[in-house]
């Protein structure tokens, strides 16, 4: 019998306590941020879309190898001895034409693992976080500064250079076995 009445009492009492709390909250300011109108300030370490500063990129492929989801694709062509690629802002000499530098943000998991190994600090996270697209393909960003024709040219140049080199080598190497057969 005592339990019966204590049940009634605790039922009513705890309900009233709860109602008091929610009533207090009626007059508390809301915590909502009205997103498209007011945007929260992102902390400086916030990890969002990647950016590659191609002026500094030396094409070392380290970011691509660090990426756990393989969303970075890099292709490079060796520069000819005659080419002058300039230097990075830190004074490193560049030796490779970067003919392909694609980051697929549909795959990217924003883990920042690619940022740490970069020797020239040319790949980094920016503050842009609104870049949704209607087509999945348009999330595949290309950072290459060379035009397609330039890329073709560099590739051709290098192929020619290689061919020449091979020919030279062959020319240099060819007489030897010939001499040997003579002996």
């Amino acid at each position: 019998m005592r339990e019966y009445f204590s049940n009634i009492w605790s039922g009513l009492f705890t309900v009233l306590v709860g109602m008091k709390i929610t009533f207090k909250h009626l007059f508390e300011p809301s915590v909502t941020i009205q997103y498209p109108d007011e945007k929260p300030k992102l902390p400086e370490r916030a990890r969002n879309r990647l950016y590659v500063n191609m002026d500094d990129c030396i094409g070392c492929d380290q970011c691509s190898r660090a990426c756990p989801v393989s969303c970075i694709e890099i292709e490079t062509v060796k520069a000819l001895p005659t080419d002058d690629l300039g230097k990075t802002s830190q004074g490193k000499k560049k030796a490779l034409w970067v003919t392909k530098f694609n980051i697929d943000f549909a795959k990217c998991c924003y883990c920042q693992l690619c940022v740490f190994p970069c020797p020239t600090e040319c790949i980094y996270m920016t503050e842009t976080y609104e870049f949704s697209e209607y087509q999945r393909d348009s999330l595949n960003y290309s950072f290459v500064t060379l035009t397609p024709s330039e890329i073709e040219e560099k590739k051709d140049n290098f192929a020619k250079f290689e061919a020449e080199k091979a020919a030279q080598k062959a020319a240099a190497a060819a007489p030897k076995p010939a001499q040997k057969t003579d002996e």
């Binding site: 049940n7 709390i21 902390p43 990890r47 990426c67 998991c109 920042q112 693992l113």
Partner: protein, 375 residues
């Protein structure tokens, strides 16, 4: 008198999930019902299977860290801590003291954040919507603290093998201390609003009772095991990191309002654990030493041929990593012992003989994260 002898009764199969408001993700429960009484519950998992263990075989050790985040996405820091400790023990790395302190702080903040979701969604399951949003608003504070330090709110990639990706943000200590003082009264508010509510107690007390022998036999760990009355906490019983330096209690279930090991005990043990985590945070934030956090990160992680099983106390229980190395840059095998996976195996045992509404109460009380169940 009418003749009821030709009336047929049959068991009904109710398919709960994978799309259902309170299966906590994509879990499918095949429930055999007799009226509203449960005869059998068959959980079907695997809808969120992301081949974690297969992926690990093709990843180098540091690359696994982002994947580890995505298992129990409500407790990423704790997952990372476990993984980092496992690989460090595998290679015999000693990490600086500051790193250990930061890791403990992060793990405890994460524990609070994770329990907030657990308790909030539990209230939601029972039908109380408001505590859920209060807790989520407070959880945002923790996430903002995390974001400032490591740049992400949910999937941190912060605790690395041998160290941390960044040092603490200069504001971190102040904000964390603020949070600790802010959050203490909020626990009382939660208790008054939800925990001690008569309806809530009625719904959860004496429901889904888990005796201690069954709990151990089914491999329950963490708060679920402690709620059944066993004082078993890996932070004490199998110490890792620097938990032996801190003073804290291990709350165990006492059958406060019902039977020992019922849903309310499991719920309330989590509430008490949040208080203990605040205690640990108090101490750790006061004692944190200076130092470098990246000095012990190895250039190349290539353990010799050996195997190890390491476990840590996650918010959901014992998270274990069984790592087998064959000497390469990639692990030969990473097997995870996900606490939610093991806990979910108990559903049938707990639910038998209860009502449909209790399935939700029980499922919420064992607190699973489907990302971890399926990996």
């Amino acid at each position: 008198m009418s003749d009821y002898s030709n009336l047929k009764t049959e068991e009904m199969v109710l398919n709960m999930g994978p799309q259902h408001p309170s299966t906590h993700g994509v879990l499918r429960l095949e429930i055999k019902l007799d009226g509203e009484l449960i005869v059998e519950v068959k959980p079907h998992v695997g809808y969120l299977h992301r081949c974690f263990e297969k992926h690990c075989e093709a990843m180098t050790y540091p690359q696994i860290v982002p994947y580890v985040d995505r298992m129990d996405y409500l407790a990423s820091m704790s997952n990372e801590l476990g993984y980092a400790i496992a690989v460090e023990r595998l290679m015999g790395i000693q990490v600086p003291e500051r790193v250990e302190y930061i890791r403990v702080i992060m793990a405890e903040l994460q524990r609070i954040a994770s329990h907030m979701v657990a308790l909030g969604t539990y209230g939601l399951d029972i039908g109380a919507f408001t505590p859920f949003l209060y807790l989520f608003a407070d959880r945002e504070r923790i996430l903002s603290i995390f974001e400032e330090t490591c740049g992400a709110r949910l999937l941190y990639n912060y605790i690395w093998v041998g160290g941390l990706s960044h040092d603490l943000h200069p504001d971190f200590i102040r904000k964390a201390k603020e949070f600790v003082t802010y959050f203490r009264p909020k626990i009382t508010e939660l208790n008054n609003l939800l925990s001690y509510n008569k309806i809530f107690i009625e719904r959860t007390a004496n429901v889904g009772i888990l005796p201690i022998e069954t709990a151990i036999n089914y491999g329950m760990t963490g708060p679920n095991l402690r709620a059944s009355g066993l004082k078993w906490d890996l932070r004490r019983d199998d110490p890792y990191s620097i938990y032996d330096k801190f003073e804290f209690d291990i709350p165990v279930g006492k059958g406060w309002v019902g039977t020992l090991g019922d849903c309310w005990d499991r719920y309330f043990v989590r509430v008490l654990e949040m208080e203990q985590s605040l205690n640990i945070l108090d101490q750790a934030l006061a004692q944190i030493p200076d130092g470098d956090v990246t000095s012990a990160i190895p250039k190349r992680i290539k353990p010799a041929e050996r195997q190890i099983y390491t476990r840590v106390e996650n918010p959901r229980g014992e998270l274990g990593y069984f790592i087998v190395s064959k000497g390469g840059l990639q692990p030969h095998r990473v097997k995870v012992r996900p606490p939610s996976f093991i806990s979910l195996g108990l559903m049938n045992e707990l639910c038998k003989g209860h009502l449909v509404a209790d399935v939700i109460a029980i499922l919420g009380s064992i607190d699973i994260v489907l990302g971890e169940v399926d990996r």
